[in-house]
């Protein structure tokens, strides 16, 4: 490039390069998650850092252990393991024992990614797979929620965090229900401002809706995310709960409550949009988003669980290859009307 004579410059195609590489995209997502992560540290103190650290540690350990020896540094450098760990950590309850968080990260990468052939080959979102494993394995610890604001301030650690490996956490006397749980089991509605700012109990990253949205906008501006997926999921949820509200406004959640409660924003913006496990065609992404939204609402309103974002996304992940196959655009010059 330093040659001054432009006539002598010789290149071969591709002449236009897109600056987007996997590590760059991953780094962008990490930046976008930074505000929500900071908020989780604000609300849950040192426990948040410990849990996130344990998840990332587990994910990176699995990545390191199972990677091909030659490709080891490559697969570690693209930060996808760190991202998986962080995303998983943000979906966990703050009082979870650290060894479980580590195990979740490890299983998420090992069974969710490496076993399929590594980054780009996995069928399911690794972070959600890790969470699904944890939820099926430790149902009690995974649904014990602690209140968001603690009196001890930043340095306080939830006693549950420090359980020894393979040992139970002491059941916390001051456990409290999530907004969705309160709605489902106690018919109690949480004020919307609390939901938006994050002053509720819940998993680390699902508490502050506004900061999650902020990160989503950043990702959209950086073109790292397909806006159709979060938009279609959120729209579906809004429409679904508005229609339900027509039948019985008191029993069903309002549209805004549905959007800002639980892990919907976290899932819709950061997990459903995983480029590996979501459809590639525009039509397919709409189908994917609407399907996820409908499943979320079906599970939340009619299912036995208070929250359904994880299973909704995992189910739609499973449907993604099929969606991609049926929404493939016609190849130019092929098919069409044959007279």
């Amino acid at each position: 490039m330093k040659k001054s004579d432009p006539d002598l410059l010789l290149f071969h195609a591709p002449l236009l390069r897109q600056g987007m590489t996997t590590p760059k995209v991953m780094r962008d997502v990490l930046i976008a998650l930074a505000p929500a992560t900071a908020a989780s540290m604000w609300f849950f103190g040192l426990s948040a850092i410990l849990i996130l650290g344990a998840c990332i540690g587990g994910a990176v350990a699995a990545e390191w252990l199972f990677a091909d020896r030659q490709a080891r540094s490559d697969s570690l450098r693209d930060a996808s393991g760190i991202l998986t760990g962080l995303l998983l950590g943000l979906t966990l309850p703050p009082g979870l024992p650290l060894w479980m968080a580590f195990l979740g990260g490890f299983v998420g990468i090992a069974l969710g990614k490496v076993i399929w052939g590594g980054l780009g080959h996995n069928l399911f979102n690794p972070a959600l797979l890790g969470r699904a494993f944890l939820l099926a394995t430790f149902p009690i610890a995974m649904t014990t929620w602690v209140p968001a604001v603690t009196e001890g301030g930043f340095l306080q650690i939830y006693p549950g965090n420090l359980a020894l490996p393979f040992m139970q956490a002491q059941i916390d006397a001051m456990s409290s229900a999530t907004p969705l749980g309160m709605l489902k089991f106690e018919s109690e509605v949480t004020p919307l401002t609390d939901l938006m700012l994050g002053n509720v109990s819940g998993s680390l990253g699902e508490t502050s809706g506004l900061l999650l949205l902020l990160g989503g906008v950043y990702l959209w501006l950086r073109r790292d995310l397909d806006w159709r997926i979060p938009v279609s999921i959120l729209l579906t949820v809004v429409v679904f709960s508005a229609v339900l509200g027509l039948f019985d406004a008191a029993r069903f959640p309002t549209p805004l409550f549905s959007v800002f409660s639980g892990g919907l924003l976290l899932g819709a913006i950061y997990m459903a949009t995983d480029p590996v496990t979501s459809p590639v065609t525009p039509k397919g992404t709409w189908i994917f988003g609407i399907g996820t939204g409908v499943l979320v609402m079906l599970i939340r309103v009619f299912g036995g669980l208070p929250e359904g974002v994880m299973y909704a996304i995992l189910l739609m992940n499973a449907a993604t290859p099929l969606i991609d196959r049926y929404t493939q655009p016609r190849v130019f010059g092929r098919g069409g009307d044959t007279k």
Binding site: F133, A136, T137, F138, A141, A163, F166, M167
Partner: protein, 214 residues
């Protein structure tokens, strides 16, 4: 020489052609009853009895069983032994019998057993057929036991009903549920195949070295 031959039939079933790890047969009891080690042993012993008994009978009668109706003959013989095993377990260990439930009668439908009759017992002399049956059944028992041990330790914190950890042990609920069976079996198969792959690689290297050496 003859002794060697029957040993070969025996060890084949235990390791190289292990019904579960190499042939992936008999998955139904494999996944269903291995949530504790004691259940795994009971199922393995029942299968051993049925397989050895029916292999012996089928092999003895192999020249009288008409080819056209051989499958139904095998099934009748197998079902006889399964019924014996069923009532024996009920009489000896009623608790285990209750936990195994429908999976004892279902031994009839275990493709491992019918497969051995069709592929081996109906073609070979009785001595070899019995050795083959013992080998296969022991291989099956080993597989059941390795799953059962892992699942009971993680899912219950115990082994053969004896608690291994203190009161505070956090059980891995998934391990005593069906998904735990799939996960454990998958991981074990992974290691089995990895080991086989490494062994083949090693043998190839040795052959290569020998060829270049001579």
């Amino acid at each position: 020489m003859k002794k060697n031959e029957s040993y070969e039939e025996f060890i084949k079933g235990v390791w190289r052609d292990n019904p579960v790890f190499a042939q992936v047969l008999g998955m139904c009891p494999m996944l269903a009853v291995t949530n504790s080690a004691i259940n795994a042993v009971a199922m393995g012993m029942a299968t051993l009895f049925v397989l050895v008994g029916s292999s012996f009978l089928v092999s003895s009668f192999r020249n009288w069983i008409p080819k056209q109706v051989r499958i139904s003959c095998f099934i009748i013989i197998i079902a006889t032994f399964v019924t014996i095993a069923d009532y024996t377990l009920l009489a000896l260990v009623p608790k285990v019998h209750k936990e195994l439930g429908a999976f004892i009668p279902l031994i009839v439908a275990n493709c491992l057993i019918l497969g051995r009759q069709e592929a081996f017992a109906s073609r070979y002399p009785t001595r070899l057929a019995v050795m083959d049956a013992i080998g296969m059944a022991v291989g099956f028992l080993v597989a059941l036991l390795s799953l059962g041990i892992v699942r009971e330790i993680l899912g219950d914190g115990a082994l053969f009903g004896v608690k291994l950890f203190s009161e505070n042990f956090e059980p891995w609920v998934i391990m005593i549920l069906p998904p735990g069976g799939f996960l454990t079996l998958g991981v074990i198969l992974l290691f089995f195949n990895w080991f086989k792959f490494k062994k083949d690689e090693f043998l190839e290297d040795v052959a290569e070295a020998e060829r270049s050496g001579s």
